[in-house]
Amino acid sequence: MSFFPDANILHVDLNQLKIIRKTIPGETYSLYPGGGALALYLILQGMGAGVDPLGPENMLVFAVSPLTGLPVSGQSRMVVSTRSPLTGAIGESQGGGFFPAALKGNGWDAVVFTGRAPKPVYLEIKGSEARLRPAEHLWGRVTGEAEDLIREELGTKNIEIAQIGPAGENLVRFACIINRCSRANGRTGCGAVMGSKNLKAVVVHKSKPRMPVDPVEFRYLTRNISKRINENSIVYSLKKFGTAGNIKDNHEAGFLATRNFTSGWFPEGAENLSGDNIAATILKKTDTCYACSVRCKRVVAIPGKVDSRYGGPEYETCAAMGSYCGIGSLEAVAMANQLCNMYGLDTISCGATIAFAMECYERGILTSADTGGMAPKFGDAAVMLKLIEMIAKREGIGDLLAEGSLRAARKIGKEAEYLSLTLKGLEIPAHMPQFKPAVGLIYAVNPYGADHQSSEHDTVLTLPPDSVEGERLARIGFRKSYDNPLELDADKVRFAFLTQCFYSLTDTLCLCQFVWGPSWQLYGPEELLVFCRSGIGWETTMEDLMRIGERHINMMRYFNAREGFNKEQDSLPKRFFQPLPDGPSKGVKIEEDKFKEAVGQYYQLAGWDPTTGNPTAAKLKELSLDWLLE
């Protein structure tokens, strides 16, 4: 059998303020090799069903992988998993930066938190040593202030800090975890779980760089890296314009989510919010994650208004704080991004929830009596900025919106639930399912709710079959090119499933999906095998890797089944079955019957019970998950 390293796990019991070190043997670890799969293995072993997501029994797991921190682009990602306070389902969120590489560099594959500290604390990790430190003086501080205080207290700049802001402390259900004040494990409310545990931050000391076991073969991945990037126009665009490079193109196609997804057409603002306008106006510099040559991160500054330490808006933020809310001011979006990074809020759920409130107000479902005199209308940037602060502090209407749009809708009543654009309670990212129906299908069936980075996007299928992208997809078993990306047929469902398994694999190995993926990314499936082999001596196959991705999905789905989730939660919001009203996409909609048929086809491919939508015992056994049945 091929070599696979053991996993080193740090267990932090916050009730007792005790820290225990455990090891998972390599043979077991190779089935759940990091990230979301390792986290789920630990959660399903250690936590029963029905725990309160904000109670001490909930487990919170930070996990990296054996590949994290090796000197190649796109390897410094970390997954945080827990039972989500936003959805009640499994919560999973991926984030980048330098923290993941530093955590692995100290020798740790995962940190598990249980219980609740009697007073605020933070965890400091230095090599094999870990200790809890008081954090009462940090509580209530925004991320930048807390970071400065921790650095001063520890007397070093050579640390990485993952922390919550006041939003996490106030248990805002879509609070996130932030490192370097600008890199977020954004989704599913993991920051609120951290807040519920009185855990302000995790600090890791920087360590010596990790080295590959076979530097000669590893060089195949890193040599001529600039040429490799320049020859890939999609990755090059990420380098040049960041993720927001796609704003204008999506608008021109008629699929930039606008005014709470009532339209895909935003002529009054798309140009302003675009990556090239960011580059031409407020960009201060570009930034990167550990050892990554792509440098897709933007750092922006506006004198007196936006401090560059809080990074810059991504595509999702430009959409959620911009077009979702009908706001075309780049300055306002940059300020919103800064506020979210200061307070520790997921920009997607936050922007989407504000857009939901704006539509409720415009339709008379919310009135100024509900909002304390505010008039939240589409296009009002001042109101949007004010609402972010009110949500973070749970003030006024912000207290209701801090529950997320679905819970808020259920409290508001009337037709509000129709206006909550969520899957399993998680607000929808800025890739319209009408444009990308395979992505829409994965939004629906994904265990942790609507996620745009859980499968490949339909649009890549327009490329001809002899393209690099077509050949890479063939390597994972998909061979078909489409003239019309809007189609949703049985082959498209297979594309969704196969690429979901691959993306689930990258969420397990904690790899960036702009760099490692099944089609357009900098590196494809073959290079991933080289990475595993030359990086850590892991001789594996593409079939085994795809199986790891599938196992991870099934573990999450099994978790959800325990919590009472089933196929009832696997449908898109009704709005997507209505024709779009204007712009180039006028009249486009998803056919509801066809979509339901696609969900059924997906269950069949996944080997799930068609009556419940949950994994069958046979599927769990096939994936070596028999232990879940005991």
Binding site: S233, T459, P464
Partner: protein, 65 residues
């Protein structure tokens, strides 16, 4: 010669290949190209010579982010 690209008139040099047009417009190979509704393979981009009046459709895949 005059051709159309995505429903807009475009003046191209005589004997231009699809790749010439993509280079002129700043596109890479990572696009899908149809000429008069026939979808080209990528290996045809450098060799397929356009004729006056040809109708090109060029689509750039918009992926995640």
């Amino acid at each position: 010669m005059e051709i159309s690209i995505n429903n807009k008139i475009y003046k191209a040099k005589d004997n231009s290949t699809v790749m010439d047009i993509l280079n002129d417009l700043g596109f890479s190979r990572q696009v899908a190209v149809w000429v008069n509704e026939y979808k080209l393979l990528q290996k045809e981009y450098p060799t397929y010579r356009l004729q006056p009046g040809d109708k090109l459709k060029i689509i750039k895949p918009l992926v995640g982010g």
